[in-house]
Symmetry: C2
């Protein structure tokens, strides 16, 4: 076993910070806390996996002698980040010891057996969903917060990705709220469904860049793969049937209001400070003519907020958990939003006033 | 009981963020979680106290009706920070309810009885130690990290402030390291000593600004007071005798090295990553001729670091807890530093290469 390569510190750190999102943090198996490093003629391959999420990327370097090793991801990252910037030499002279060095510093790091590192799937060769990286990142950021956190119904910790008639849908819901986002695909892709762990998508968001370069998504039987220029991300799918979400979406409304997103967002934030029950920050809405009045109360005091609205339909009094509203207001980036109501025990639909590609649904809290 | 005033949101938030450092966080007595607000002809006085640390400041506002109240510091701050910027009206119309309002928002906050709020000491009228705010802030920042954290010897959680022959000394030590800083005073002040809780000084650092406006410090029998333009900070002194620190300072050395601070600082940081015992990150120094070699080892690997030095005196091998060195290197801001040694079981003295106003002392770790 030998390996010898030279690599720029910042280049290597950037690659490491991409793959480290898949490093296993629970003390399960030492090899999964490692980063796999392969020096190949065409560059340095880095890999990490927690068996559910697996990430592979490639960085540039000068390869003197090809080889593969595994080192502790955390220790390797910490050491490199303390090295001075510039080229660093990596060389396995002694058995089980990687020598890291530059002019002034020399570090010898224990290595693990690369043969023990789990194999990675191959990227499927066809059926890619192709869309710009920044668009997909935005679709995830505005939906996955609605996925369940609790383990009560494991399938709700997943996010549905489906292609239906050349339209890509992303759906997340937790029993109290639902986020739906769609996008027309340019290329012809057959209809398909997959449920991806929201935990994996939370790491994917951190890796994707705000670039309009295309990425390709491949959905297979038990795995999804996202491929960018230098990086492949593999996510094991959740098994089971997703909630039939279309049955939940209301097809009509009795009241519809249009209002400024910042105004309602700030008002809900202020009102929620005085709704002191942390678990269920109750805020009451009263919609009459030109105003939405938001109130809350606790032993600390009372809040009254008034927001200008355009109302179409009937007056309504309805109450919400402030957190579920705030979460949505944070991710919509349009100035005007629309809220649609039926009764004060049926879901409220929240839409952008300018964009038809997404929809949120929030259940009200029953008032006593 | 009534009160009515108008105040700019950001002005009030700035004042609140000053006094909130003294708000009691342990659930001891509700009134101590409050901020005292007094509307007076000449402005709005804000006060908070945890009985050990007490802070009073004044902000500008339009007083319609004088009065005093106490409200929950945390809730009041949270609400104001969510209000839109600009003038806000504060009015106690109802008994026990402070109405906070602007054009769109209205909040009614429970108030506590101002008569229950602890009285504040008076600022002594003479004997002030006068020095620029930024200089005092810097003196604190470069010493108080050496005070003890543990309760084993309560007096070591204090910081000694003493005036001796018109020189102000600040000293903190925890049994493993000592930080000493001095400054010649321009005005004539009688010799005096006081031991101030390091916890209070940690809050003082956050309040002081990087301005060269003077502040005045008054040391009385059981209290110290720091007075800036708008703010007074009162700190209850610790009782007892401080360690006779002058007896600990070595009067000579057998080896003295001069070296670049950044180089030794970075090398110690890198070596400490592989010194995995969190409690006692052992790094070994070997000083021979023109080089300081720093090494460390653990099951993760080994580090070797070499730093250029100018040596005067004998070769020496000595070991340290890396944390005590890093802490010092972070606060010295000169390029060159000096380390003085006697034996590998006696304290090492660390000085600036350019400035005689401070001195650190670090105990070595005995090597087996």
């Amino acid at each position: 076993m030998s390996i010898h390569f030279k690599c720029d510190r910042d280049t290597l750190l950037k690659g490491l910070s991409t793959v480290e999102k898949a490093v296993e943090l629970r003390n399960i198996k030492p090899i999964l806390e490692g980063v796999y490093i392969q020096a190949k003629r065409d560059g340095i391959v880095l890999k990490a996996t927690n068996l559910s999420l697996s990430i592979e990327t490639m960085v540039e370097g000068d390869v003197v002698s090809e080889g593969e090793i595994v080192v502790s991801a955390r220790v390797f990252y910490e050491i490199l980040s303390k090295y001075t910037a510039g080229m660093i030499d990596f060389d396995m002279e002694e058995e089980n010891r990687l020598k890291i060095s530059n002019n002034h510093s020399k570090t010898q790091l224990s290595v693990m057996d690369a043969a023990e590192f789990p194999g990675f799937p191959l990227v499927p060769e066809k059926g890619a969903i192709v869309l710009p990286q920044n668009v997909f990142k935005q679709m995830l950021a505005t939906t996955i917060f609605s996925a369940a956190i609790s383990d009560a119904r494991p399938i709700l910790k997943g996010v549905l990705m489906e292609v239906e008639s050349n339209s890509l849908h992303i759906v997340a819901l937790d029993g109290y709220r639902l986020a739906f986002r769609k996008m027309a695909l340019a290329n012809g892709v057959p209809d398909i469904k997959a449920i991806i762990p929201s935990s994996a998508f939370r790491e994917v968001i951190k890796i994707l860049e705000d670039s309009d370069d295309d990425l390709a998504i491949y959905l297979a039987d038990n795995i999804a793969c996202i491929k960018t220029n230098r990086t492949q991300i593999f996510m094991r799918l959740l098994e089971g049937e997703f909630i039939k979400y279309k049955n939940i979406l209301p097809s009509e409304y009795k009241s519809k209001i249009k209002l400024n997103r910042n105004e309602i967002s700030d008002s809900v934030e202020r009102a929620s400070i005085l709704a002191r029950n942390e678990k269920d920050k109750l805020v009451k809405f009263s919609i009459v003519d030109d105003f939405l009045t938001i109130t809350s109360a606790s032993e600390l005091g009372e809040a009254f907020e008034q927001v200008d609205i355009f109302l179409e339909g009937k007056h309504i009094d309805i109450a919400f958990n402030a957190k579920y509203l705030s979460d949505v207001f944070k991710v919509i980036d349009d100035d005007n939003i629309i809220l649609e109501f039926n009764t004060n025990v049926s879901p409220c639909v929240i839409r952008s006033g300018e964009n038809d590609d997404f929809l949120y649904l929030v259940l009200p809290v029953q008032m006593r």
